[in-house]
Symmetry: C2
Subunit: 226 residues, 2 copies
DNA sequence: CATCCTCTGTGACTTAGTCACATACTTGTC
DNA sequence: GACAAGTATGTGACTAAGTCACAGAGGATG
């Protein structure tokens, strides 16, 4: 039950479907949902689990990923504020086990909704339905992009892209280990280390334990097209 | 407009949501949809296209795939009878361009529904909505499996699996080129040729131009676990 | 049977992933 | 400050996968 008008206000701004939804539904929504907090690096869903709740992320991010037989990982997509773990919704609607893992990457604040409500509301409220549909469609696009990446693109280009995405002109430095990059890209730590070393020798980046600094953004960008 | 009672009967059996749906909706559904036929190897959707119709497959199959920069292909999933090109639906609902290609693999007979009806019905009829939701969820699972495959599994195991999936004890022979296997698995023709040659030398299969015959199903299955 | 087209085979090379182990950097503890 | 433990990175040697260029082989057609 959520009653603080400030919080309600903020959530209504963040989850736009609440603005388009029926007043009755909105009242019901805040009556039956609750807010939870979660620390970093906490398991949210385990592969094979049946989901009993849907989490709508208010603050923080989560990473949804697969683990291979050999222990390697690959990130399928991330969930940020305003989004929700739609795989959960998908499992709820089709009553199947969750096909991946999800962990919090930063401390998370989230709205929790029971599966029963998820299903009931999808029959009652068009705005809620559209929200779910939109999310799951977006995830499908995300995952299709991942397929394209791993099936066709070279690791050095993908890594260059990763570095460019995770920095900007204001902030040339990132705190990240080779292993976590490898887990994102679905490759192995050694491969990442070697390519980074190569980039460093070409003076595109500099590295130290746990950090990477972009030294020549333009030349790194050229890598992408090459 | 579909009026033949035999056809209506058959479609109602095949598309189960019609059994659970409201009588008004069903009447409307058959009034506004049409049946089309399509030959083999016809382009259904091009990447980047905007979709104006949703096709529900009655007979035949279609393949949905990505093409990489280098020209290689990878199959995301197939659409069979009773299913529909849900990516289209997803594009319709979120008004985005289609992110892949789709072609007919066999002659296709399909029901065609306009985007306007797709959206309208999803607001009116729970059974239709559930059908769409189920399909898109299934596709998401499919594509996640593809990610897992290409990111973590060795090509020889995936190929062994492919051969086992496409034959059975009654029909040990398949008509297929190395290139089309490669396009399914997202690898290159040469790699497929070499692995098949290897399987042949181990007497698990025999090959001739355009056909592969399983000779030792059990030993090929062992490859999977190995 | 000559020609064309498609399909398959192969060597040489590059890129990616695996395995085993060596170094290095941090942090906490005595 | 010395040391140990834990985490992060570096590297060689090897296997697997993808690329490129080209050689043949098998069917179809005139």
């Amino acid at each position: 039950m959520i009653s603080d008008p400030n919080i309600i206000d903020r959530l209504t701004t963040q989850f736009r479907f609440l603005q388009y939804a029926d007043a009755d539904f909105v009242r019901n929504f805040f009556n039956t949902s609750t807010i939870v907090q979660l620390a970093s690096d906490q398991a949210i869903c385990q592969q094979g689990m049946h989901c009993s709740h849907l989490a709508l992320v208010i603050e923080g991010t989560a990473r949804v990923y697969k683990i291979g037989e050999n222990g390697r990982e690959i990130t399928l997509y991330r969930i940020g504020p305003g989004e929700s773990c739609i795989l959960t919704a998908s499992c709820i609607m089709s009553n199947k086990p969750f096909p991946a893992f999800a962990v919090s990457e930063e401390p998370i604040k989230a709205l929790i909704v029971s599966t029963a409500d998820v299903v009931r509301w999808s029959n009652q409220e068009a705005a809620w339905r559209d929200y779910l549909f939109q999310l799951i469609s977006d995830r499908l696009s995300d995952v299709i992009s991942v397929v394209e990446e791993v099936a066709f693109r070279r690791v050095d280009r993908r890594l260059a892209n990763y570095l460019l995405q995770h920095t900007d002109h204001g902030n040339r430095r990132m705190q990240v280990t080779h292993q976590s990059i490898a887990s994102d890209l679905g490759t192995s730590r050694e491969v990442v280390s070697r390519i980074l070393k190569d980039f460093e020798q070409q003076q595109m980046i500099s590295t130290s334990r746990g950090t990477i600094t972009l030294e020549d953004r333009d030349r790194l960008s050229e890598k992408l097209a090459e």
